[in-house]
Symmetry: C2
Subunit: 212 residues, 2 copies
């Protein structure tokens, strides 16, 4: 069975932005503070290191019943028995990923243009990410910002839950939730925070208030 | 069933060394010239591009009945239904890779130190690569060169077929075959050759003569 996910506060890891602190520590502090789902994103490590880190994070998250999603790498997700993958438009196509992962894993897909929503509606996936809502220094390979209007358009068209990613912080997330998103995906607002636990608590409070 | 492989002349692709020529063209010319097995190695492209290239190469190689091996990426091998993977000591461990790939795929493993041969003998793999025989500019993340003595020691200990990689060209391969290797893995000697077909023909002739 696919793990039930709560997209409200979706942490995406980033080692270079973690100020030298271990990812496991940041993730556990974030989850204690209210982060509801975690994506492990690694771009510059070996496959073996990526798998070992994924296995470690899975153990970290187990007591909290929080899903672990792997960015891009279906092989790492399978080897670590993670809860799912997050795929971009230049990663493995979702249909092949579903065949390889089977029916029990979560698949999320980044949508970079509003017109990709129709294709996403045809897929056996679990959520879509509006990417990016705002431009940011964290990812340099992204398309033009979709903005709050983009979030609204995709929410209106999508049969899947929607998260916003890109420039998400305590000043921007209320608008994204108010636009109809189920959650927000944050990177530096948690991984670079002096206290990832407190940051998560502050962010999840804003999400919850904006949903009311 | 696992594809029968002939390790005699093992081409490892390298896009930056291909002088701007398409990998499909180099691979087909090489195979026409006598290359017996092909490994697709890509370090800097997206997962989707890697898979698309693997699918293209599989189609290129089908009429020649030459196996296509994917470097490192079990996900790409599965998505493209390639014939197998080649794993380094910092890639996915071979036991997990065998579980994910099933019994019908080829798995090759790089051995960087002679004492890794015993562990390799315990694994359900199809060949080992002595890596590197000589130091080279092609790979910068390799261990110390194992040399001809290293090839001899690994050939003596290994229950699996052995290929030599690193610094393999028309001047060096005869010694490696004479030391007992089943084949040699070449990169720039073919991918940077003005005529990959003729280069392959020259190299496979040397391998065959050295095996007599």
């Amino acid at each position: 069975m696919r793990k039930t996910i709560d997209l409200s506060l979706y942490l995406v890891t980033d080692r270079p932005l973690s100020l030298g602190r271990p990812i496991e520590w940041i993730v556990e502090e974030a989850v204690k503070g209210g982060t509801t789902i975690v994506q492990l994103r690694e771009k510059d490590c070996s496959t073996r290191e990526f798998i070992e880190l994924a296995i470690k994070l899975k153990q970290t998250l187990a007591p909290y019943n929080v899903a672990l999603i792997i960015n891009d790498r279906v092989d790492v997700a399978l080897a670590a028995n993670a809860d799912g993958v997050h795929l971009g438009q230049s990663d493995m196509d979702c249909k092949t990923a579903r065949q390889l992962l089977g029916p029990d894993k979560i698949i999320g897909l980044s949508i970079e243009h509003i017109d990709e929503t129709d294709a996403a509606n045809q897929l056996d996936i679990d959520y879509v990410a509006v990417s990016p809502v705002y431009l940011t220094g964290t990812k340099t390979d992204t398309s033009a910002a979709l903005g709050i209007d983009g979030v609204k358009s995709i929410v209106a068209k999508s049969i899947h839950p929607v998260v916003g990613i890109g420039g998400m912080n305590k000043n921007t997330i209320a608008d994204v939730i108010a636009a109809g998103a189920d959650g927000v995906a944050v990177v530096s607002a948690i991984v670079s925070a002096e206290n990832p636990n407190e940051s998560s608590a502050e962010l999840i409070d804003i999400v919850k208030q904006s949903k009311q």
